[in-house]
Structures are given as C-alpha cells and as structure tokens.
Subunit: 200 residues, 2 copies
C-alpha cells in the first residue's frame, strides 16, 4: 500500500503532548496536519467565524436527536459544528494523506480503509506537570490537578456524545502509547509502525 | 537504564497471537520467556502437580475475601495457585530480565520500576480466524465465534477477580498494538520501543 493515501487519526488525553507528537509525526512523514488548522476550514463550512467555532466546538449540547425533534431547522451550535467537522474530515480523507488530531476523527472514518488510529496517553501526574510547565495553562486557583481532571471529563463526554463509548480502550486504536517515554521517542515508534504498514 | 533488569509483561486477547509474539520478542531480546514454563515453577511452589495447575489456574472461584472469611486454612485451588504465581512472578522480576505472558503480571508488578506493560489485541474476526486456522483449536459444535467470545469473557473475569477492572484500557499499558499488522511487525515495533527505553 506504499502509494495509497494514509489517514492517521490521533486521539489523546489532555496533557499527554499528543497534539505536539501528532504535529511532529506529520512533519516527519511529510503529510498534512489538521487540528487548529481544521477549524478555519470548518468555520467556512458551517458559516460560523473561526472564533465562534473555537468557543463552541466542545460545548455540551442537548441530545442531538432531541434537538432534531424540537426543530429540524435550528440545531445547537456544537452540533452544527460537529456535522460540519465530519464533512471536512471526510473530504480531507478523500483528498490527501494527513494526520488529524481529535474531533472523533477515528469514529468519523471508522468504515474507511487506510486509516490508522493512534491513542496517546500518560500518567495523570505527568500530564499535570506538562500542562503547568509546558502548556503554561492558567488553572482556576492555580489547581492544575482539578483542571486536568475537568478536561479529562470533558473530552470523554464529548466523545461519548458524538461518537461511542470506546474512547481510551486499547481495542479502539491500532497503536496506543504512553508518552512518558519522550515525545521524540513516540514519533519514532509511530513512524516505525507506519513504515511497517507501508512496506506491506 | 541500559544495564538494568527489564521485565516485560504481555497481556493479550485470546486469538491475537500475543503469546507467540511475546515468545518471539523474548528470543529477539535474548531474555527469558515465562508462560507455560511458569506453570512448572508455580506447581512446585504451590505443591500441586503441573497438570493440576493447568486445569485449575483460570477457574472461577469464590471471592477471595469470602473464602478467607470462611476458612483461613482452606482456599479454593484457583486462589492458592494465583498466590503462588504472584510469588513466582515477583521472584522472577527480582532475578532476571524476562517476558511474562498473562497471569495478571502487570498488576502483580504494578509498584515496581523497570516494568513495561504491553497489550496485544486484534479485531474479533481476525482472532476467530487465527484460533481456527493457526491454533487449530477444537470448538464445541465447530463454532469458533462462540468459543472466542467465551474465552474473552473468561479472561476479563479472571483479571477482574484477581487484579482490577483496567484490563484492555490503553492507559494500563505502555504500548498497545493491534496484531493485524503481522506478528513479525509487532515484534519489531515492540523491540523499537524497548530500545528507546534502553537508550535513555
């Protein structure tokens, strides 16, 4: 499959460095990287501004079906954005090899071939450290532990709402890796994995 | 840590080829491999014969605490074997670098340093195929699907009973890999991972 398109989805725990690792991976493989960049594409698709998308995309909304029941015209912003993201992700997968971070891309592309799903995680304490020291995130009352816990819950809730309940289960991914080994090491291991696939 | 002992635990779904991959990995790294071999050591430890251990080690037993409550002297065979296995695994980890398959070794060694936990899985259909064609296992009524489902349940129940409820969650392992990529490829990826650790 050396000449075929390859879509790599990266799901990651908050504070695991997954986004950074995914970006390094895309650079190392010489293919596109979509995360923040995705937002501007999505914004165009949904008719919202990029700033509006950034603020609303992970907001909890009412049940999608309930919303559809209430009105076939007006959906909560979060749902409209998710639907637009889904279309953008599917179009990207049609068009080019790339790395897509988050946004339930693994779920969106679940019935497609040539998709490799990666999960990046790290022990809680390591993630708290990284969020405080590397991300330099401000946490309410400077309590980074509570902040990471809140982010963990939000991420799982987002996935469970829009996708299914398999977030973080090893079986949901082709490769899952603990980033404590180091970001560069992670990139090398994932690249090795991709090279094994490409050599088939 | 290039000169330190390294214990690699391999947990695996039934039919994923995890045991074979673990054996190839141990050979590739030139370190000990403990699975069936473990049984004879355990048998000596518990006073049971090797055959008795093989028949009883994964049998469901009553709650360990309830059994202890009923009698501080007589424990079900499965529990005695597990306690003996725990001791054997701890002794092995003290003594030499090795690969240990199954037996909740990841849980038994959870508070120890220099332990790398690997999880090997594969899609259900691939596992059914392997059990039928490669393991050549006889399944009741030749129904290999039902047989693999039963084995899955047994493995999870065994882990939940003796360890905790984290079996199969990506966070429980340093590296999880879908063996559909091929057994040799898995060995190479895991070896790369071990080499990254050793180079630190």
């Amino acid at each position: 499959m050396s000449n075929e398109k390859l879509i790599i989805t990266v799901s990651r725990e908050y504070g695991s460095g997954g986004r950074k690792i995914a970006k390094m991976l895309a650079e190392s493989l010489g293919i596109g990287f979509y995360d923040g960049e995705l937002l501007s594409l999505v914004a165009k698709e949904s008719g919202y501004t990029e700033e509006f998308v950034r603020k609303n995309e992970q907001k909890k909304t009412r049940s999608l079906l309930y919303s559809l029941y209430l009105s076939s015209q007006i959906l909560p912003a979060g749902d409209v954005i998710f639907i637009a993201q889904t279309k953008v992700i599917q179009d990207l997968a049609e068009k080019e090899s790339c790395v897509i971070v988050g946004r339930c891309a693994d779920y969106v592309l679940r019935n497609r071939e040539n998709v490799v799903n990666i999960f990046i995680h790290a022990p809680f304490e390591k993630r708290v450290e990284r969020v405080r020291d590397e991300y330099k995130e401000d946490a309410p009352d400077n309590n980074h532990k509570a902040y990471v816990q809140k982010k963990d819950k939000e991420r799982v809730a987002y996935y469970n709402y829009f996708a299914d309940e398999n977030w973080g289960k090893a079986k949901s991914y082709h490769l899952s890796i603990d980033s404590s080994i180091g970001d560069e090491s992670c990139v090398r291991i994932i690249t090795d994995y991709i090279n094994e696939i490409r050599s088939k």
